[in-house]
Subunit: 332 residues, 2 copies
């Protein structure tokens, strides 16, 4: 059973997967096992995943059979498990929590070779609707404090399957990175009674050099302190702390600018590995006035090395002003 | 000129390398350029690095010629530059600092094919003496707040040259990760008047399951909340916040346990890529009673993906108790 453990000095949490513990020989970097061509996310292989939690499919089709255009299933190898009792306990001076949580997979298209950057925008809207539905369902679990939606694209970004999919993990703890953003925005609100993300949008619109695209409801920027080359954030222009409240018109606008941002990165950088992470307020309801949901896309072009691990500093060889200019110039 | 920029929400800093700005085509992942066999760290190529800052060499040899056994040179492509004026300035709502700092390379051996894990321990002692000398020299710069010593081993851990070397970066800011450790240990000290790292050593000795090796003056453990499989920390058993104060007997003990820890990882995991980072108190003198210097070794066996970037959580598939047992069992 997985276990959550807290580092007592820095307060970061780790998930220790005690069940499928890896031994040294499992990490061999020298030999790559030949991959089979079997894909559990293809039509006809629905029986190889755990039974679907949600699917968008024609009314005359059965669950766990072909025909769907979006399918959400539990992760077959979950980092956290929702059939455990949530318990918080001490281990001497250390703190631990049972590995309770939710871990789901959103299969974004039945097309094995498609990628979100080149999907029709209507299909991306369907992905966002699935996110919203599962976000709200998991967030309503009273033992869940945070729900993170994220995507790993390609092996170098941590994807173990090539078929387009994203993941949703619900945790019984508010993660450190979110906590930091919450604290930073809470302090700013105390000082100024304004949302710091709204201030960022204001300044970016004033300067315009780091804007990749602006639409009626959304803005895509390369942030001033980008950690990575071509890092792109997508923010709703109207303040809202909670992604779970996204409305129909916003779903359309969000799908459009997300697809465009990914398409720009795809074209400018030749389909690089990337991650994206959707940051929203905790499921506990904190952050209403001062937090502002957004999505962060990080192309994985540089290696994170000792300096970054040791300091938390990042070295970014591409100024965001240059990156935004390139991305703006991409023909969609 | 490089620029330090602060993310206003999370307070993390980035170094934007404006000088050698990379364009999209510089990141091509498809074609690997053929590497030349020329190594600037080999005997006879001393003229290709900037002039040496420090070297351990026979008295009858000239600087920047062969004969040395340790050589420290400025990084030819520094992340930060020490010929700039340190200035802190605002950019609208954002904060920036000129890219002032020190960036040096410690060439750990003249042997192009050697690796620290298999060096004679006497040579590792020489490396530690070089660290100490350069640490204290850079820390004495009144504009420097932190000096980070770290190592990237192999390309997947961020090394751009194969010849064994480590790096030293001095920054005008205390890095976020160190700040977090400082705050955590300061709070503990307020509460208990004890060093949290001394408490960790006490508990680890009591349990013994996560100890890799213990010597007269040092202990190597796989920490309770290890982020990565086989993550290993080396700590001095006697409380000291400042690596710069390390004494002769401790240099010997530290060299021995560091070499042994790297040798265990080398043998158990078939010479994997790894990073190590030396964490010590800031150059400003903060942390005397409550901080405790230590070195963190992280083998790079798993991919950091969207969940880690988005949450600051880590998923570790090898419990530290299992990892420590394997590492203890390695024949040295």
């Amino acid at each position: 059973m997985p276990e959550l453990r807290r580092d007592p000095v820095s307060n970061r949490w780790v998930i220790i997967a005690t069940e499928r513990a890896k031994r040294p020989m499992d990490f061999s970097t020298r030999s790559e096992e030949p991959k089979s061509n079997f894909c559990p996310f293809d039509y006809g292989n629905e029986y190889t995943t755990p039974p679907e939690i949600l699917s968008f499919r024609p009314k005359d089709t059965q669950p766990n059979t072909p025909g769907w255009w979006i399918r959400v299933v539990p992760n077959k190898f979950p980092a956290l498990e929702n059939n455990l009792k949530l318990e918080r306990y001490g281990h001497g001076m250390y703190d631990a929590v049972t590995g309770f949580g939710h871990h789901e997979i959103v299969i974004e298209t039945p097309d094995h070779n498609a990628t979100v950057a080149t999907l029709e925008v209507e299909q991306v809207e369907e992905i966002i609707w699935a996110y919203k539905a599962r976000y709200n369902a998991i967030a309503s679990d009273e033992n869940i404090r945070y729900v993170l939606i994220f995507k790993n694209h390609k092996k170098d970004a941590g994807a173990s399957l090539a078929h387009a999919h994203s993941q949703i993990i619900g945790t019984p703890i508010v993660p450190k990175r979110v906590q930091e953003e919450l604290e930073g925005s809470r302090m700013r609100y105390k000082l100024k009674e304004r949302c710091i993300f709204c201030d960022i949008i204001y300044q970016e619109r004033m300067e315009s050099t780091r804007i990749v695209e602006e639409t009626e409801d959304f803005i895509a920027i390369n942030p001033y302190a980008s950690r990575f080359p071509f890092e792109t954030w997508v923010l709703p222009k109207v303040h809202n702390h909670d992604f779970g409240q996204i409305k129909e018109k916003e779903v359309q606008g969000f799908a459009q600018i997300l697809r465009n941002s990914l398409a720009r990165i795809y074209k400018a950088l030749d389909d690089p590995p990337y991650n994206f992470m959707l940051h929203t307020a905790p499921a506990t309801g904190d952050g209403k006035n001062f937090y502002h949901w957004h999505l962060e896309i990080v192309p994985r072009l540089t290696k994170v090395a000792g300096f970054e691990w040791g300091s938390g500093f990042y070295i970014n060889p591409t100024p965001p002003e240059d990156a935004a200019k390139f991305l703006r110039g991409v023909e969609l």
